[in-house]
Symmetry: C3
Subunit: 158 residues, 3 copies
């Protein structure tokens, strides 16, 4: 087991299965030493954890938990392409889209759910650049969507 | 003619002219072996195909057709920088912004209009990572905006 | 002083201090020869220049000035990682999120505030690919958020 997955296990988490990709796009693509994930929703055991808008029916802590799940799914997407998560040498960039009511301005606090998990799993390599923005609505009425770019050690990707 | 353009011709499509760039930004930038396009609107013959919000005055199929046109314009932007589209070895990442009413959650179906065209044109190299998100409004009241990152064969850009 | 900073000084501007990063993410990350900034808000002397929605309480020119400040903060974030701004050989990609009322469609004009500053500071190297999109709300009720990717000369980053 990779050290990253041992740290996940210590958090009571494990790398989920990656859903069978649809035909037209895939959960992650490797380009040289970068891995770009698709936007990840907070799917857990095949279902969205929650639906709705943050600041409305979805609370801040619930949304942060959704962002954490999105990040976990992004980790799974990366693993599906590089095999061993310890090949991740840097989480480069994270974008967190938060389905927000017009008066909800706590997108960074929601995004911390994703950022903190990445820090716990990857340590120093998990410190990243980040954007957090509000959007009116996301696919399937998800409250959060997260995309991630990581760098892997040269020669380690597929 | 490149194989990619032959496949486009087989779909009854051709690579459009790239609008004269404004001074402050350009349709696409090459960085090492990656080409980053600007966000593309569904301009066709110099005009937006449609305006308005998806889920409101713009229907799902119309929006998917707009996303396809955005992707076609992104292909044109890439071609303007690399010349021969067969130098594209991988479509890496696609982001699809869908101007949505607050209750429209079918952004992935809209985005498929872009993804499917890229698959038809580039084949296996067209399979990409993707994010699809709702936004309240886009430039010129466009229903869709699409940005694309592709990788080209080393040494083949400009 | 770098030539880029001399040009800034000629505009009456200087590179601001980079705020102390929070623990979970940082203002910019270097990956090979690319520098990815976090989404930058129009912070000036430790405060947001303005709050609110463009098309509502925030006017177009005010929003463009905010976008310029975001770009200045992005330049500062880059400098914090590469030291000498003259190592920037290309501004690759800029994304401008504009907190917009549903009927405001002038996101490109807002984004020009960022693009024009980058052009003035970096010259030919400042010409970039760009996306400008509307969003309903941004962190801290900021009217604008800007993220930037630049390429630096090989071997020049940290």
């Amino acid at each position: 087991m990779s050290a990253a997955e041992e740290r996940l296990a210590g958090l009571g988490l494990s790398v989920p299965e990656v859903p069978t990709p649809v035909a037209v796009y895939v959960p992650a693509v490797v380009s040289d030493d970068l891995v770009f994930t698709s936007g990840q929703l907070p799917m857990k055991n095949g279902e969205l954890m929650l639906t709705g808008k943050v600041g409305g029916e979805v609370g801040l802590e619930e949304a942060a938990a959704c962002a954490e799940q999105c990040a976990l799914n992004a980790i799974a997407a990366v693993k599906s392409r590089v095999g061993d998560l310890d090949r991740v040498v840097q989480v480069v960039k994270v974008v967190v889209f938060v389905a927000s009511t017009p008066d909800f301005t706590g997108q960074p606090q929601v995004a911390n759910g994703a950022s903190e998990l990445l820090g716990k799993v990857f340590g120093d390599a998990g410190v990243h650049a980040r954007s957090a923005v509000g959007v009116p609505v996301l696919p399937l009425d998800s409250p959060v969507e997260v995309e991630v770019v990581v760098r892997v050690a040269p020669g380690s990707a597929e």
